[in-house]
Symmetry: C2
């Protein structure tokens, strides 16, 4: 168990290191106003904290630096909730007052405001469409052999896909098909579309639509193939401002993994409700083991829609970032709720 004084010193060391990125020495600590005891005492305590694994030396006669275990303890036990400044709250409010009416817009602006306020990199996983329901399907013919299929969900999400129409299929067939699809599938959850289509509607359609099989084959690919994940990244260059990323190789490996949107998306999806902090080696992705990742979720009603995250060095302003994510995820959820 740590003594009061050790807790205090650990907090001072981590707070200081987060600000300066420099190893902290006993003399520097003793100079602080809040500190009443001498460098020698501090050295003794620091030796103990080091034995316990909370801080480390970069070399045998250097000052101390928080270890990952130290950050973990700090996040779990020492964090005082930081209150955001008026200016920060104002900036967030401004972003959301801008009368936004689209998911994409909200998510994109949130990513921007997060990265602007923190100087870290924000990653937001766009709202998943699975739980939404179908509002309408449209097929619009562009030429005799091309058409675009459009699918609208109850949340105003629009998917579209162009496809080529085989010659055998007449426009009238296509029209009938769309009518049937809309009649039968309206308000069906997107995730059930494919199944419902195969089980219940195939028979019906074959009866009314000539060459249903041909049409269906094309339409299926156009409408129900899996859609690309939507990942919004803000302030990717902020990483370059951090002194821990002076090395081009580090930057390269981190940026490379950021390009793999699917992997990032899956990783983000794996976090449940609430705020999660992954420090250094705790991260699943190897390339992020010099970083900390803080995640939160946003939702529509009870339904968790997506994840917002901030990526920075392990020397992160945990307190501020957590408060910010808290405010922003609430704000996003609130905005979405207000629409429906």
């Amino acid at each position: 168990m740590l003594t009061e004084r050790q807790l205090f010193l650990l907090q001072v060391i981590i707070d200081e290191f987060i600000q300066t990125a420099q190893p902290i020495g006993s003399r520097a600590i003793s100079k602080k106003d809040e500190v009443t005891f001498s460098p020698a005492t501090i050295r003794n305590e620091m030796a103990d904290l080091e034995d316990l694994g909370y801080i480390e030396k970069t070399h045998s006669s250097s000052g101390r630096v928080p270890s990952e275990k130290g950050y973990r303890f700090y996040v779990d036990h020492l964090l005082s909730p930081s209150h955001l400044s008026q200016a920060e709250l104002h900036l967030i409010s401004n972003t959301f007052e801008n009368n936004m009416v689209e998911f994409e817009q909200v998510v994109q602006k949130s990513a921007k405001v997060l990265s602007d306020l923190t100087n870290y990199t924000s990653i937001i996983l766009g709202p998943k469409v699975y739980e939404t329901t179908l509002k309408q399907i449209e097929i619009i013919q562009l030429s005799s052999y091309m058409a675009v299929a459009i699918l609208v969900t109850n949340t105003g999400h629009v998917e579209h896909r162009s496809f080529s129409i085989p010659e055998e299929i007449k426009p009238s067939d296509l029209e009938k098909l769309v009518n049937i699809l809309n009649q039968q599938l309206r308000n069906v959850p997107i995730i059930q579309l494919h199944e419902r289509l195969q089980k219940e509607i195939t028979m019906l359609m074959q009866k009314y639509v000539n060459d249903f099989d041909g049409a269906y084959q094309y339409l299926k690919a156009a409408l129900f193939d899996e859609q690309p994940v939507q990942l919004y990244v803000g302030g990717i260059t902020n990483i370059l401002l951090q002194p821990e990323f002076k090395d081009v190789n580090k930057i390269h490996s981190l940026y490379s993994v950021m390009e793999q949107e699917n992997a990032i998306a899956n990783m983000l999806r794996s976090y449940s409700n609430g705020i999660h902090v992954s420090i250094g080696q705790e991260n699943v992705m190897d390339e992020m083991q010099d970083c900390s990742l803080i995640t939160a979720t946003y939702s529509l009603g009870e339904e968790q829609l997506g994840t917002i995250a901030l990526l920075g060095p392990t020397r992160m302003e945990y307190s501020r970032v957590i408060s910010l994510l808290h405010v922003l995820s609430k704000r996003m959820s609130h905005t979405f709720d207000s629409w429906f």
Copy 2:
């Protein structure tokens, strides 16, 4: 005027430097099989080439490095068209044989194949929608106070925008409005939409639709506000592999400017038909003055649609990149032509 031998030496120096990124000395050149004269002779010639400004020394006793004037001369007069390898052509063919049916898909895959083949960064400006014509407008009501407007062009491009409906407007009004819009505006070039709407149709609409002014105000914002530019970037991390970008500050300034999509898009738009090479200081953007940018255009019929570009260090494989852009821009144009 340069002598034959000077031309030859300039070519050798630039070719060699493009491969190695190291200053080239007289001895290294003399060792090449094609070179029959001695290091001393080469030194004399190099001194002349330096006086003329085509090559430079990095310090007083170093080997020579091409100057920007040297690259410019190389590109204008010395470039031998490189023939692409079977493997390269194959990779491009594979990309395009994948039965693509959408602009976005073609552009995105092209960006990827370009960056993969070159290890530079590809930037593609998405097809402009101005010259396309309106195929159809749809308005789909999501709830009593929200709707999504969808606009489809003859090229299968889909724009959509959610908007909130003021209470005064009845669904029936909305429906009438859409009908009139479709009747009057079908096949009108997108760029003329706004003007046509104001000049010719306002009167008609006011007659049939209650509270037209209210509805129009909302719809206008939803449909006709300027759309965000579409910029596709491939292989942004490739820049980090180049030895000239070991410095984090350089990377930061370049990446920062790449984030300003509008500025990049405008810059790319300013290039006319054909292939253009901007070397170092020739670039309009300050942040790119250590880079070379090579641009080409793609089109639909006679209509220039967009720009594809490659960004790399001034020490770029000009010959190969130009050949590649040539092939790819043709291939893209061809694909689009085949659709319409």
